[in-house]
């Protein structure tokens, strides 16, 4: 397959399927993330391989993790926004996460994220939930 023929949306959809839906984080990275990937998550090293190391540890610690995708925004310039509900384990309230990716020539080349713990619904000022 010539990945450079894929649109940013097609590359994003393939990554999303493997990473978020199948929870095969390392496989998704090996296939779709550029080796020189620019990482903006302050808790991860930059580059694909440094992030893969962190993901391997993460998968071992949280074998029952889940990503529930709530919405995906495909930007017109090759940036993609994924809004998901992440849980380390099924019985947790979990985290609201936005991942932003920049996609070029069939690779994810840059990543930003924002992560916020979901509060106890009893303390929320509205009943709409975070999603």
């Amino acid at each position: 397959m010539d990945r450079s023929q894929l649109s940013p949306r097609e590359a994003a959809d393939r990554f999303i399927e493997v990473f978020y839906r199948q929870n095969r984080l390392v496989d998704a990275f090996r296939e779709w993330v550029h080796p020189d990937y620019i990482q903006h998550d302050p808790n991860s090293g930059t580059g694909r391989d440094a992030t893969i190391e962190a993901l391997e540890a993460h998968m071992q610690r949280s074998p029952n993790m889940s990503h529930d995708i709530k919405r995906v925004i495909y930007g017109e310039d090759g940036t993609v926004c994924v809004h998901d509900h992440f849980r380390h384990a099924p019985d947790q309230r979990g985290l609201a996460v936005v991942d932003l990716f920049r996609i070029k020539d069939g690779y994810l080349v840059e990543h930003w994220d924002i992560i916020q713990p979901i509060p106890d619904p009893a303390t929320a000022k509205n009943s709409n939930g975070m999603f």
Partner: protein
């Protein structure tokens, strides 16, 4: 109005606009509504004009620390602004979606000399109004503790 060079990822080829002009709101695209709201809210730090022009009175609020509906959220924001008049939003990128959604990634600070927060706001726009809002907020850490030197933006 036109975007200042380098300030916003607006479409520089779009015709100039008045961000407070709501007279043709039903004919505006999702992107055009978002551009007007971004100018007033994030660039001018004017929540009253931004909300009264572009938020639907019954918009659905998903931020768990804010009440739902336009007027309740606006009252909360004006209260913040009166206590913290130097609060600021610096827009770093906008994901202009191909449906009814737009995502805005920005650096929010309550006070100028603080590290502040990395925030994404997601807006759903329909019929010339913002109808729904989600956000995710994370404190920017001390750069000395970060595992890379790329920054959060």
């Amino acid at each position: 109005m036109r975007p200042a060079p380098g300030v916003l990822p607006w479409n520089p080829d779009a015709p100039p606009f008045d961000p407070r002009d709501t007279s043709n709101r039903a004919r505006l695209s999702v992107r055009e509504v978002a551009e007007r709201f971004i100018q007033l809210f994030y660039v001018e730090d004017n929540p009253r004009d931004a909300f009264m022009a572009w938020m639907h009175p019954d918009y659905i609020q998903h931020n768990p620390n804010a009440p739902t509906g336009r007027d309740a959220t606006l009252a909360m924001m004006e209260n913040s602004l009166s206590r913290l008049p130097d609060l600021s939003h610096k827009v770093h990128r906008v994901i202009w979606g191909d449906t009814d959604l737009v995502a805005i990634h920005f650096h929010f600070k309550y006070e100028p000399d603080t590290r502040g927060y990395s925030v994404v706001d997601i807006l759903r726009i329909d019929g010339g109004f913002i109808r729904e809002h989600w956000d995710v907020i994370q404190e920017v850490p001390d750069p000395a503790t970060a595992k890379n030197s790329n920054g959060m933006f």
